[in-house]
Symmetry: none
Subunit: 413 residues, 2 copies
């Protein structure tokens, strides 16, 4: 079934508002096994909207449109639809009754401008809006099912669920279903992952593998399409073990999880506690740990020791180490981790020291040189990395690498 979505609003074309409705509608349809083939955005312009309706009707069996149903002069979706479909604009009695009831329930007087919202194309069906004044409507034009919803996200989402999705499903002739499995991968580039997974989808009709980079993590999406749940189960049951085998321990999270929530879950499951000593990441690792609600149960202390004096006085890093090896060194990273662990009395302590740039690099230790150390009851591990990119990227990949150290360490508990 070929479906399109249409967003209507000047604010979208001016970039003043990010179009979250398009993604929400698409995600809801995908969950129902309906794939959106094209999305179009036009402004609050009668001619443009009418042209969009004609264009989409030509190639699609269903269109879900959002926006332009408000009470003000710049809301022209209904008028444009009447024009495109060769219908008159009439006062819709059902919409009017709904609007009157809406205001009565709230004990409010109806503003005359709201009446405008009941002027809809002749013979359109009503999509009730339980939480707002903009009635939705639906009609079939040139064999294509059009559903028009208001742009206010909260109203739209409810009407999508209660009316629009059932209307489109009723129109569907095929029975294709789709399910997606998501694996978050860290430590391999998109190209490297693509090379490792070569062939898995080519030999399996119905299976596609897509990649989505959320630097420095790559989301690998296995999408299985089939006529039945059983067919999809089989496709995924075959593909997932192959993908796991080829990506192994580089898979850091699955489905709704991120590396941060995976680490949080491992802390909760193991009962371990954490202290952090950060230099170049400047609180970024602490922020990621505390982004997850409930982190106070295991996160005892984060020490952002930007100044060398603080590394000495607070974490007990010996001044001779700082003088001889420099603040960015394996020795100092280890001393920071040990010091943080002692200070907080935590099970684990992780330390980060490095040069995020753009200043501060040298030929011996260029920008991007980062030491990460992890101290526990039995010892202290340290490793040097040479990251590339801008300051922001170096800090981000350092923080994710630190999270990955915690993930790997906690899995051995």
């Amino acid at each position: 079934m070929k479906i399109a979505t249409l967003s209507i609003g000047d604010e979208l074309l001016l970039g003043e508002v990010v179009d979250t409705n398009a993604a929400r509608v698409a995600a809801r349809l995908a969950d129902a096994g309906l794939a959106v083939g094209r999305h179009l955005t036009v402004g609050d312009d009668e001619r443009e909207i009418a042209a969009a309706i004609e264009l989409l009707a030509r190639d699609h069996e269903a269109v879900i449109a959002t926006g332009g149903l408000g009470p003000t002069d710049d809301d022209v979706t209904a008028r444009a639809t009447a024009r495109a479909t060769g219908r008159r604009l009439v006062l819709n009695e059902e919409a009017m009754a709904g609007l009157t009831a809406f205001f009565a329930r709230r004990g409010r007087e109806m503003h005359p401008a709201n009446e405008r919202q009941c002027l809809l194309p002749a013979k359109a069906g009503i999509v009730p809006n339980p939480t707002g004044t903009a009635s939705g409507f639906h009609l079939v034009h040139e064999g294509c099912q059009f559903v028009f919803l208001p742009g206010v996200p909260a109203e739209m989402v409810r009407m999508l669920e209660e009316s629009a999705v059932p209307l489109v499903l009723a129109q569907r002739k095929d029975r294709l279903r789709v399910r997606t499995k998501v694996l978050a991968v860290f430590g391999l580039s998109e190209a490297e992952i693509g090379a490792r997974l070569t062939g898995i989808d080519r030999t399996r009709p119905g299976l596609t593998i897509a990649y989505c980079v959320e630097y420095p993590v790559v989301q690998v999406k296995l999408r299985a399409a089939g006529q039945s749940d059983g067919e999809i189960d089989t496709l995924l049951a075959e593909a997932i073990p192959l993908v796991r085998e080829r990506l192994g321990d580089q898979i850091v999270a699955e489905d709704g999880d991120t590396i941060d929530t995976t680490v949080a879950r491992l802390f909760r499951e193991t009962g371990m506690t954490l202290a952090l000593a950060e230099s170049c990441t400047g609180g970024l690792v602490s922020k990621r740990i505390t982004d997850v609600a409930g982190s106070s149960a295991y996160f005892l202390l984060g020490a952002v020791t930007y100044a060398n004096g603080m590394k000495e006085s607070l974490l007990g890093v010996p001044s001779h180490l700082l003088a001889e090896k420099g603040a960015v060194s394996a020795e100092v990273a280890k001393a920071m981790a040990r010091g943080a662990r002692r200070l907080a009395g935590s099970d684990l302590a992780l330390a980060v020291t490095g040069i995020a740039g753009p200043e501060g690099g040298s030929s011996e230790k260029p920008v991007g040189t980062v030491f990460i150390a992890l101290s526990d009851g039995s010892g202290c591990t340290v490793k040097v990395y040479h990251f590339s990119g801008q300051r922001e990227q170096i800090r981000t990949i350092t923080a994710v690498t630190a999270m990955d150290w915690l993930r790997r360490r906690l899995r051995t508990v």
Copy 2:
């Protein structure tokens, strides 16, 4: 000039990713006085992309497209463009040289899959990508200037600024110039700002005021359009003082600056030093301070004391205060600020303690209750806030409020 934008990616049509690129491109073009008339999204499908190119070329003078330039099999934008424009796909020497240099700079081996990214339509011009492997390209088809950029936002934004906007502007035939003055406002809602600025643009043809919310900051954009620089100068010279007068000290940054870079500049100018003690923000304020390069000159210490024990042992918060007043209290906030200042020996110390939720609230101290304290040589100020929203929003507005405290304090130095 009729401009369209085109986003390419299955993840967009599946609703897995919200299309922020479309809004970013549109906003940047609007700042340059160029209005987007239509936006289209298609999947990673050769036929669909080719159809979109043909469709948009018919009615537009310029198209900026994003996405589908990655190294894997599902990236087919270049191939589709070759098909739509009747060109061969050739290995572009300039793109190849750029990619080789990119890997050389990073000291990394180039993966063979990356070579695929240099297969571009014959005679396309290159849009250099300084921060990634996907080269952009541009070509004119049926009188329409097409510019193709990668979908990775950080790479896209830079290439848009450096190459795509100049390419489109060069194509423009009319002589209307536009300049935009941006003022970042904190502490007022979009509606409140709109009410304060009423009338300023209505009486001045050529001047428009637009708002763009980057929670919790609102960007106020004064766009002046005219036939000459002099005309634009006059418009802005009249409007800016009026806007400043009506928004006063709520303006926290201007033009390329943010509240974070404004605070950084004030620290450099005053020579003051800083320590932070964070509880509910968990390192977020430290992160914002250290996002700015050179912050090591004034940022001595950030202590993320999530656990009460750490507030006692590290910052010297008296245990009876914690027991009697609770960790989220004016008294503890002040003791944290004083303790951090003593520990670091800094000129200023700022402390944050609060309840970010979703758990931990009570009727007396509901989720969103936050205390901020600032200690300097002469005393310690504290204030309570009652923020609303989700955990993420509460943490963000708390961090921005803390930055605003620093901004206001440093301006009095």
